[in-house]
């Protein structure tokens, strides 16, 4: 009899069902009755997510409750839903961590739903879009609410599916279809990693429940096993959260509609890896090797994303690489053991990155789907609201006090130092400078100077205008012939997001004594570590990072916002486009490497199978079996002479043989 350890107080909580299943209901409703609901689909889908958000707020107390039983404290709530098979149950876990994620998924999700009503207005498949969005929210909630690894994996796979649907939403565009397929395949690589970790856990402790696994984390596994589990789980995180080298799908995923990029490929889905590591913190705490590896990969990802962000011209691709870079920070934070700092960066990033994407969406929407910042310029006066939104987002992501990103990035970097990784800290600080550079480059090129939309693309150095962000096929009649939705549908969500993007960082005011750390103290019960004195004090670390950030901003200012640039911006942009180093324009050759190391060998293997193994080995075996049957048939039919007397003779001869045998062998007795 296995004694199950549960996290949270057991019970039945109807509101949790509501939070979890409302989006599923919405997805089914909009999928089935989309054509009938027409333009109502958007408001209905949004209202369902909004209701789920309100219900999550109502159940706040349930998630933060603390109840003592049998000498141990239980935090939050646990609800059994169904039993898969004996000893393997599925339930919902409602604690501070899942509360945080649920609030972001439903809250930011609700705002993005509302925004989408305006952005997707007049699109051909309006209802289908909202059905997909609702389905995504359901999948993501399954992921974060599950109380066991298999439920997590189910949600993990479903969000990948939702992401596939939404990246390929414009399925008549080959590049979107290719991007969705790439994202799905890479995500499945991650699913396999998690599946392998689940196998390891089940084979060792015979349970899939978090409670059992975490109870065994300290002594139930050998260090090698634990590290293997952590790495297998991290393969899933790397694929879902765009960590090097499995990040290549994220920039391509920008083929989806902009609200999708904001919700899925910035705020929520791509942070699932951060959630997984934060949820499995007992594993990471007990595995120093996994901490070092994951922290290093997070730092490398942060740097890679920032370096590649410098070379992009597509506004959404810049934001995609910045997302990758920021998730690198989060993974570095949770990876080295600074779980609350990593989760804080997730929280602030969800707000400011959603806001950046939605602000970019307003620009793209108003410029008839132009995404190339070389063809923008001077939009500050034309779109003051979008400018304000992007400005707040840029200040937040660069970590300018008092915007939210300042607190979270500072927390991640300083905690990295505290956990004894000065090199990762250095990479992170360098990345902060690069981030400031390319985000201010985006800001200056897009909003300052003069409008360049009517300039010949080739004079701006745009080599393939048809590939450079001008996505015409689907929208020719989308935004021009149909009446525009009221503008407030798109601006109000952005305005609301500006508040937390600016202020939410103050939760961390006070560092280790802050509200945020106290809130998560019962979750990340890591105990008092032997805190090595970091080489920099917290204040020195903050000032150092700020100085690096200011250098980045200054370089961007000198290059893009001074008279030298404004004198002839077109020529400057053309030269920069042409002289962009090849490794940067080719995204550091990651795609090429994956192509040659994985895709080509796999295709070769497929060809070998198709041309040699299948026709010769498999078909050959089948053919030989059938031929031998035929050959045996030929042999046996030669006995059938049709001569009755011959049969009679054989019978008599057989009897004679028996008789002779008994006569010689001496009878039966």
């Amino acid at each position: 009899m296995i004694v199950h350890h549960i996290l949270g107080v057991d019970g039945q909580f109807p509101l949790l069902y509501l939070i979890w299943l409302l989006p599923l209901f919405g997805a089914i409703l909009l999928w089935a009755f989309g054509p009938q609901l027409k333009s109502l689909a958007g408001p209905i889908g949004s209202a369902l997510i909004g209701t789920a958000f309100v219900a999550s707020l109502v159940e706040w107390g349930l998630a933060t409750q603390a109840v003592g039983t049998n000498g141990a404290m239980l935090y939050g709530a646990h609800m059994s839903v169904l039993t898969w098979t004996k000893g393997f149950d599925f339930g919902l876990l409602w604690d501070r961590l899942s509360l945080t994620w649920t609030l972001i998924i439903t809250g930011v999700g609700f705002l993005i739903h509302v925004y989408s009503i305006g952005y997707m207005n007049g699109e051909r498949a309006f209802a289908r879009f909202f059905a997909y969005l609702n389905f995504f929210v359901f999948a993501m909630l399954t992921l974060v609410l599950s109380d066991n690894f298999v439920g997590l994996l189910v949600g993990w796979g479903l969000v990948g599916l939702a992401s596939y649907f939404l990246i390929g939403f414009y399925f008549d565009r080959p590049s979107a279809v290719a991007a969705s397929r790439k994202a799905f395949v890479i995500n499945v690589v991650g699913d396999v990693g998690i599946l392998y970790a689940v196998f390891l856990i089940v084979s060792k402790i015979g349970s899939i429940a978090y409670g059992d696994a975490f109870a065994a984390a300290q002594s139930g596994f050998t260090p090698g096993e634990l590290t293997t589990i952590c790495i297998a789980l991290f393969i899933g995180c790397a694929a879902k959260s765009a960590q090097v080298p499995l990040h290549t799908w994220l920039p391509d995923a920008m083929e989806g509609p902009t609200p999708v990029s904001a919700l899925i490929h910035a705020a929520t889905m791509v942070t699932a890896g951060v959630y997984l590591i934060a949820r499995c913190w007992p594993f990471w705490v007990n595995s120093p090797d996994a901490r070092a590896l994951v922290g290093a990969i997070g730092a490398i990802t942060a740097l890679t994303g920032a370096v590649l962000g410098i070379a992009q011209w597509d506004i959404k691709r810049i934001l995609a690489y910045s997302t990758m870079s920021q998730i690198g920070y989060m993974i570095m934070g949770v990876g080295v053991g600074a779980f609350d700092a990593g989760v804080l960066h997730f929280l602030t990033h969800a707000f400011f990155k959603a806001q950046l994407f939605l602000g970019a969406g307003i620009i793209i929407h108003n410029l008839s789907n132009e995404q190339d910042i070389r063809k923008m310029g001077g939009l500050r006066k034309q779109m003051p609201f979008a400018f304000a939104a992007i400005l707040v987002g840029v200040l937040a992501i660069c970590g300018i006090p008092p915007f939210s990103g300042f607190f979270s990035k500072d927390a991640v970097l300083y905690e990295t130092l505290v956990h004894g990784h000065p090199w990762l800290y250095a990479i992170g600080a360098l990345t902060a400078g690069l981030t400031a550079y390319y985000m201010f480059r985006l800001l200056f090129v897009t909003f300052f100077g003069t409008y360049r939309g009517d300039v010949d693309p080739s004079s701006l150095g745009i080599r393939h205008p048809e590939l450079a962000g001008v996505h015409a096929p689907h929208d020719e009649n989308a935004h021009t012939e149909h009446a525009h939705a009221p503008a407030w549908l798109m601006s109000v969500p952005v305005a609301i997001l500006m508040v937390p993007a600016t202020l939410i960082g103050f939760l961390y005011l006070g560092g280790r004594e802050s509200v945020w750390v106290k809130f998560f103290a019962p979750v990340f019960n890591t105990g008092s570590e032997s805190a090595a004195t970091p080489i920099l004090s917290e204040l020195a670390s903050t000032l150092l990072v700020l100085a690096v950030v200011l250098v980045g901003i200054a370089v961007a200012y000198i290059r893009y916002a001074r008279a030298g640039f404004f004198a002839n911006p077109i020529e400057r942009l053309r030269l920069e486009s042409i002289r962009m180093p090849a490794p940067l324009t080719n995204a550091l050759y990651f795609d090429l490497a994956i192509d040659y190391l994985v895709v080509k060998p796999t295709q070769l293997f497929g060809k070998v199978c198709a041309r040699i193994i299948d026709p010769i080995v498999i078909d050959g075996a089948v053919r030989e079996v059938s031929l031998s049957a035929s050959w045996l048939g030929h042999l046996f039919r030669s006995f059938q002479t049709g001569l009755v007397r011959a049969y009679a003779f054989v019978i008599v001869f057989g009897v004679a043989c028996f008789a002779a045998y008994y006569a010689i062998a001496g009878g039966v007795h």
Binding site: Q640, G642, L643, A648, V652
Partner: protein, 106 residues
């Protein structure tokens, strides 16, 4: 086992049965006329019957007698069916040589 006394020794009965059976088998294998073959089969039946009743008598067990009756019944049925087949084959082909009737050759 206590064998009942016979006026003629039991070996003679069994010997006669064996000779009859052998003659019947020879007839079935060598003759080509189905009527003769059926007769030969009847001879084999009767050889078996003789053996059955001989042993029944010898061991004072009536099962053998009963079984002989059963064999006679089967033999009658077999003769009826066999002759019917021969008649049908003759009507079809005007010929009853069994070697010619080889339509089941594989």
């Amino acid at each position: 086992m206590n064998l009942t006394e016979f006026a003629v020794p039991i070996e003679y009965y069994i010997g006669l049965s064996s000779v009859l059976f052998f003659l019947g088998a020879i007839g079935v294998v060598l003759r080509r006329n189905p009527l003769i073959m059926l007769m030969s089969i009847e001879i084999m039946f009767n050889a078996a019957n003789l053996a059955l009743v001989t042993f029944a008598k010898a061991w004072a067990n009536n099962t053998g007698h009963i079984f002989a009756f059963l064999v006679i019944t089967v033999a009658a049925a077999e003769a009826a069916i066999g002759l019917a087949i021969v008649v049908v084959v003759f009507r079809k082909r005007q010929n009853v040589d069994v070697d010619e009737v080889a339509a089941l050759k594989g």
